[in-house]
């Protein structure tokens, strides 16, 4: 048996680690800012820094920049050691690193300028989507290349999770991003309405599953036993929970769409697979916590482990809460409220954040060949961070449940207790402050970490190429003890099987619906958008109104009283993208055109919501009244919609601009009657046209 000597690439790990910390600070800064923008609308600093644009920046920065870089950091370090091999290609590592950072910067800039698809966690426009695909493939080649040249016959459980992550994210990203470009930074999705919603939440749910969960489980399986110096509790549990998790997760997407216009059949699948997810998820938590069996005394002394214990516990809490929220009765209360925001942050702040911190505190001193500068400071970080999470969660659960109950509350008459939505908003303002303070505490902890790591790095020396040795992989066949052991030795087979497990749910949930739509399309209940309304809709998308407003009225007495007839599939046939939203910081707008708000009211309210609705948390949009509407792509937009199957005819395309101007003039005249002077070529006119259109159905003659 010949022993080979080789070198681990620590520099790439270091780079990803620094990027993680840097983007973590940026992402959390935006988080704290938008948290305070709600109770203090004055913090909406103009066009580029208003809530609707910053919220996607926060979510994208937190997920793809902070967690993304942390995943790569964790994988590049552990994969080399688990495979006993250097990364496959230094060049690919470099392209991966810089490509990813470039994408992040491009994302931040374009989102600030309002280029967005509006789809949550998939807001980036098509050129960036293509770049992401490219970099993901680079990552894949590098990872699978490394696994192929490994000196360890079997793949450890962490690697299984890395593989599943790669496959699932690739599939999700590609299928959710399919769109037809209108121009360099604008596109319309190939799916419409209900289909678009299903695909988006298949994606959205599984972005949580395969970007925030499976890679982190992989990291947990490497770093937790390593730091605790304990054997993993149960190999069998690893196997069972891995396969059941990757298979079941994909199916649960429709639990984001309960009581919505998607078919009840898909909703039922969403519920049952969410319930069946409890045990597989808890398998991960158990394997993590039980690994610490007999080592709890070290946890008390070891700050990295403390971070990890809180992380794994958070994971367990979130994965129990999620399925519970999939029960229809719970969902009818929780959905659209801040409860969901609390749920998510339990996961991101607790599970992702704390696991990352634990890893970074352990990893940086290792690759710098030194000790952590100050474990005491890290300990302070731990407690401040934990306190921050507690503040955040208490605030959001309280506010979410308050919202949910107030929206539903009826008086003895059977009417709404709180007709005016604003009174439910004012009720939770203190909670918004409390949440902001929680965020401030959390980021303060991170600043302590930055200082601590800075000092650590200064006192150490980067071991860019760490020497290691391992016997070359034996080629002779050994007797395999079990089928799974066999599988762990065969990358190709493993890849195929996990791909099948991952795509099954998506195929069964999405394809029949799409086929059915193809055979007998949903009957439209609405008229298609006029050019002006379409432009207004794109402004709505640009400003990110969907970050606060839903467009999905659920079939409940209280909602039909408040918002009008409940939403059905036929209402959305022309919606590309769908704009159902996921949170009602403001009221639902699906039928705002039928609600007693006239053009003048909208104008005044958009320019200064706090004047119309004192105490409102909606940002002011004065620039809409002064910005000129860009009509250079109007007819192109209609044309693209036409190629996507919207029944515009050739004249609609050719006369798009003319029709737009005519309609704009009429609206401007209406405003003039209300003593408001707004030229027809302003963006505001288009937006109001869109708002007034919302909810109007085709008149059916009796």
């Amino acid at each position: 048996m010949s022993v080979e000597t080789f070198h681990y690439d620590n520099k790439i790990v270091r780079n990803f680690a620094f990027a993680t910390v840097f983007w973590g600070v940026v992402g959390m800064f935006f988080g704290v800012l938008i948290a305070f923008q709600l109770p203090l609308p004055g913090l909406n600093f103009g066009e580029h820094f208003s809530f609707g644009r910053l919220r996607p920046i926060h979510t994208n920065a937190a997920i793809f920049a902070f967690v993304g870089n942390a995943i790569f950091m964790g994988i590049y370090y552990s994969l080399q050691r688990l495979c006993k091999a250097r990364m496959f290609s230094d060049k690919l590592s470099k392209i991966h690193f810089w490509g990813w950072q470039f994408i992040i910067v491009a994302a931040a800039v374009t989102l600030l300028f309002g280029y967005t698809t509006s789809k949550e966690y998939a807001e980036l426009e098509w050129p960036i989507d293509i770049a992401i695909t490219f970099i993901w493939v680079v990552f894949g080649i590098n990872m699978f290349g490394t696994i192929s040249v490994r000196r360890e016959k079997h793949m450890y459980v962490a690697i299984w999770f890395y593989i599943a992550t790669f496959i699932a994210v690739a599939v999700l990203h590609i299928f959710n991003s399919l769109a037809l470009p209108v121009s360099f930074m604008k596109s319309y999705p190939i799916y419409a309405g209900v289909q678009d919603a299903l695909v988006q939440w298949w994606y959205g749910h599984n972005a949580v599953a395969f970007f925030l969960t499976t890679p982190y489980l992989g990291l947990m399986y490497y770093y937790l036993p390593k730091i605790a110096d304990r054997p993993v509790y149960s190999y069998r549990l690893s196997i069972i929970h891995f396969w059941s998790l990757v298979f079941i997760y994909i199916w649960a997407g429709p639990h984001h769409l309960l009581y919505s216009a998607v078919s009840p059949w898909a909703q039922t699948l969403g519920v049952i697979f969410s319930i069946m997810l409890i045990a597989p998820s808890w398998g991960g938590m158990l394997n993590g916590l039980l690994t610490l069996r007999g080592a709890w005394h070290t946890v008390a002394k070891n700050v990295e482990l403390k971070f990890m214990v809180v992380a794994v516990t958070s994971y367990g809490m979130v994965t129990l809460e999620g399925p519970l929220m999939s029960f229809k009765s719970v969902n009818s209360l929780a959905h659209f409220t801040d409860w969901i925001v609390g749920h998510v942050h339990n996961g991101t702040l607790g599970w992702n954040g704390f696991l990352t911190f634990g890893i970074v505190y352990w990893l940086i001193p290792r690759i710098y060949n030194t000790k952590l500068y100050s474990p005491r400071l890290a300990n302070a970080h731990f407690w401040i961070g934990t306190l921050g999470i507690v503040f955040y969660l208490v605030a959001m659960y309280f506010s979410g449940i308050t919202q949910g109950l107030m929206w539903k509350e009826l008086d003895p008459d059977g009417g709404l207790m709180h007709e005016n939505f604003l009174s439910t908003v004012k009720q939770i303002i203190p909670m918004y402050y409390l949440r902001g303070i929680g965020g401030l505490l959390y980021i303060t902890g991170v600043f302590l970490m930055v200082y601590n790591l800075f000092k650590t790095v200064k006192q150490g020396n980067l071991q860019a190429d760490e020497e290691a040795s391992a016997p070359a992989l034996e080629q002779e066949k050994t007797k395999v003890k079990s089928t799974h052991r066999f599988l762990e030795g065969h990358l190709g087979l493993f890849f195929i099987l996990s791909t099948l497990a991952i795509i099954a749910g998506g195929l069964i949930e999405l394809v029949p619906g799409a086929m059915n739509e193809f055979i007998s399309p949903t009957k439209p209940l609405v008229e298609k958008y006029s050019p002006l309304e379409l432009e207004g809709r794109d402004i709505y998308i640009r400003e990110g109104c969907n970050n606060c407003h839903s467009q999905m009225i659920r079939p409940f007495h209280n909602e039909t009283l408040r918002y009008g007839a409940y939403s059905e599939a036929g209402d959305y046939v022309y919606d590309r993208p769908f704009l159902w939203g996921s949170k009602r910081t403001g009221p639902d707008l699906h039928r705002i055109g039928l609600r007693p708000r006239n053009e003048v009211w909208h104008y005044d309210h958009m320019v200064n919501p706090q004047k119309s609705s004192p105490g409102s948390v909606m940002p002011p949009y004065p620039w809409l009244a002064t910005n000129k509407l860009d009509t250079s792509t109007t007819s192109k937009k209609i044309q693209v919609m036409r190629s996507l199957g919207v029944p515009y005819n050739y004249d609609d395309v050719r006369n798009a601009e003319e029709n737009l101007q005519k309609e704009a003039q009429e609206l401007s005249d209406i405003l003039k009657k209300g003593k408001i002077d707004c030229a027809p070529d302003r963006e505001m006119i288009a937006l109001i046209a869109y708002l007034k259109k919302l909810g109007k159905r085709i008149k059916v003659k009796k």
Binding site: R81, L82, K84, H154, Y156, Y222, K226, D229, R230, P231, V232, Y233, S234, Y235, R236, L237, S238, I240, S244, W265, Q267, T268, L269, V271, I272, F273, I275, M276, A279, P280, W282, L290, R293, G294, D413, G414, G415, L416, M417, E419, N420, R554, P555, F556, H557, L561, P596, R597, N598, V600, W601, D604, H605, K611, S612, S613, P614, K673, G674, K675
Partner: protein, 212 residues
Amino acid sequence: MVNVLEDEKDILLDHEYDGIHELDNFLPPWWTMLFYITIVFAVIYFVGYEVMGVFKQPAEEYQAEIAQYPDYYEDETEEEEEGDDDIAAFLAKKQQQQGNKKEVVVALTDEKSIGKGRRLFRKNCALCHGKNAEGIEGQGQGPNLTDNYWIHGEGKIEDIIHTVKTGVIEKGMQPWGPTLGNTKILQVVSYIISLKGSNPPNARGPDGKEYK
């Protein structure tokens, strides 16, 4: 060497990855049980909803729910309103119907009409004027309609009907004539009149001039 407890020695698996070992513990029985229970639940749930149809789907749930509040949904089945004709003519007709000798319309006072008016108010007006017509602070919100202060007209029934019918466009109140029609307007206005002097809590301060 990895930290192995006394009772774990027998179940320590022989392989090792970068110093990480694995134990061959059984699946925790309660965990397995939990998994089975959720699967059984899922099967029952699926069969109940999708195969046998014994559980109510959202749309059916909704029908059952609104059946408890028939008052709020009768509008939808009602006949279309007669046209939005001229107010003067309408008022004259009403006067005739009411057998009213005097030259003024009289507010409806029967319980049914007031009830109808209240529901109409709650549905269309409360959003801006508050649940009990107490008014809501803010530029785009409506004034208190229960006090003696009026911006438009003197608070007489004709005045109120006129304001409601034609709206106050520049302040954000739409003309209600086209949406509600005359009959409903009379009902809602009668309801407003019935609230006079009711002194609802949290009322908005006075707007306009006082008329006694």
